[in-house]
């Protein structure tokens, strides 16, 4: 019988009396990327700690390929690689020293060079961890998560603080892992990242899963998937907003108008006519696909960040 890479059922955890994980169920399959989205304090990092066995669940179960990460840590730690958001590596050592050491802890490690080369670690191999920038530390931490040749990888905000180039390297690593059959659990704030990389997304808020599905399913499930945005040459007058609201749900901020609810061509024409009647000029106009950020806002009434 084959087990999913990760199965979580009815997971609960509290800090004191404050419940941070409140009944989470999720499954991660080999060869796919599971995106875990949610604002700060939603319980994402705690869920990862519970999943890798560094915390004991209050109730509920966690299984990594059928093994309990607390009771069978010797087995699960060989199977799962972890990049913790606030996880660190010894500050007084150099990156390759750390990776060489970590590789001795695993049964079948990846040769250090195979990770150091593509992640560009040789560029700063002579410096101690303490002297690395945030982005450089992140790259070493990613290598540390992968050094044990894991079949399940937890990446907690792997691209936080990375420049676009390093981000692209990390993204291609993540896609490559999934292509090679590794299960990836990716927590992120970055919606574009979640959309780009995830096969499935779960949205967590206040310790519960509030939505789940493929990124495009989540977008279409929440209704109007497109909106019209118009930028004017001056601030939007209130009278114009009132006028446009007759056409559909409208919001305005500064000189930017957004007409939601998948407006039709004739509604768009009417909107442009209303702008012309108000004697204003359009400096930019376009159709915007609804993002996961909008989905999150609709689900919770709060912005994601």
């Amino acid at each position: 019988m084959s087990y999913p890479a990760l199965t979580i059922r009815g997971l609960q955890y509290s800090y004191g009396t404050h419940r941070v994980v409140d009944g989470i169920d999720l499954t991660a399959e080999s060869g796919s990327v599971l995106g875990v989205l949610g604002p700060n304090g939603a319980g994402k990092s705690t869920t990862i700690s519970l999943a890798v066995g560094t915390r004991r669940p209050e109730s509920g179960t966690v299984e990594i390929f059928g093994h309990d990460p607390v009771a069978e840590h010797a087995t699960t730690s060989q199977l799962a690689g972890v990049m913790l958001q606030d996880g660190g590596l010894p500050m007084s050592s150099k990156p390759l020293q750390v990776l060489r050491h970590l590789s001795t802890l695993y049964e079948n490690p990846v040769p250090v060079d195979e990770l150091a080369e593509p992640l560009g670690l040789y560029d700063f191999a002579g410096r101690t961890m303490r002297r690395l920038s945030g982005g450089q530390k992140q790259r070493v931490a990613l290598a540390a998560a992968l050094i044990g040749r894991p079949r399940l990888v937890f990446l907690d905000e792997p691209c936080a603080g990375l420049d676009p180039q390093a981000r692209e390297v990390v993204h291609s690593f993540i896609r490559d892992l999934a292509d090679r059959g590794v299960a990836v659990v990716l927590t992120t704030h970055d919606l574009a990242e979640a959309e780009e990389l995830s096969d499935e997304v779960v949205v967590i808020d206040r310790g519960r899963i509030i939505a789940q599905g493929a990124p495009e399913e989540l977008r279409s499930a929440s209704g109007g998937s497109r909106s019209l945005t118009i930028r004017l040459d001056s601030p939007v007058p209130a009278a114009l907003v009132d006028r446009l609201t007759e056409l559909g749900p409208t919001s305005a901020q500064g000189s930017l108008i957004s007409l939601d609810g998948a407006p039709t061509a004739s509604q768009i024409a009417a909107a442009c006519a209303a702008v012309a009647e108000a004697g204003l000029q359009i400096t930019d106009i376009g159709m915007q696909r609804q993002s996961l950020s909008d989905v999150f806002f609709e689900l919770t009434g709060r912005p994601l960040r």
């Binding site: 890798v52 066995g53 560094t54 840590h73 010797a74 730690s77 060989q78 799962a80 972890v82 913790l84 606030d86 996880g87 660190g88 590596l89 010894p90 500050m91 007084s92 050592s93 020293q97 050491h101 970590l102 001795t104 802890l105 695993y106 049964e107 931490a141 540390a144 044990g148």
Partner: protein, 243 residues
Amino acid sequence: MTSTRIVSQAKFETLSVLRNGEQLLLSIIFPLGLLVFLAKTPLLTGLGVIEAGADPLSIAVPGALSLSLASSAFTGQAIATAFDRRYGVLRQLATTPLGTNGLILGKLGAVIVVVLIQYALVFAAAAILGFRGPVDILGLILTTLFGTAALLSLGLLMAGTVRAEATLAATNLIWVLMAGVGGLVIAHPGEWGTVVGYLPSGALGDAMRSAVGHAGTDVKAIIVLLIWGLVGTLAARRWFRFE
């Protein structure tokens, strides 16, 4: 397989200690300085610790050994662990196959290796200064093992419960107090001497002075160290937090 990982961790931690300049100062230069200072100045005779004409090395050598042990097992490891904890290193290592117990045993191994290096340097310097023993090897081994267990567990207890800066400040202060008034280097007379005999520092000092320079085994002092080691280990298991 588990033991290979522990050895690997001990090796890594040993190299980290030896690479750290400040810690090296604390663990090697200060004990050697103390040894030379006590051997070459009339301080011990002046304080009445030894009689006029007696060999100051019989106090200076065990004093330097005890101070070495306290530097590595207590202050050095407590500070290193406190900052590892602060920077999330412990959290990350706990997710590897090393696990928590492997991490602690790796630290214990590293302390013992560093202490052996310190002992070798202290004994070499002592020989140059004219120290000719006696040394009770069994007494020295027991003192080192139980002294390490007591001081390391108490140091880790502090590192795992309070902030890193507080650990840094407190363990350095305690190191000075242990050396100055805690019976680590010299036995204190009177009631204070009785009190410190039951503290880890005083018990370590008593046991070391019996084993080195007087060739005996201070069973009472070693039992006191053993009890502190058990208390420290139980307390650390109970209260140590990885984050």
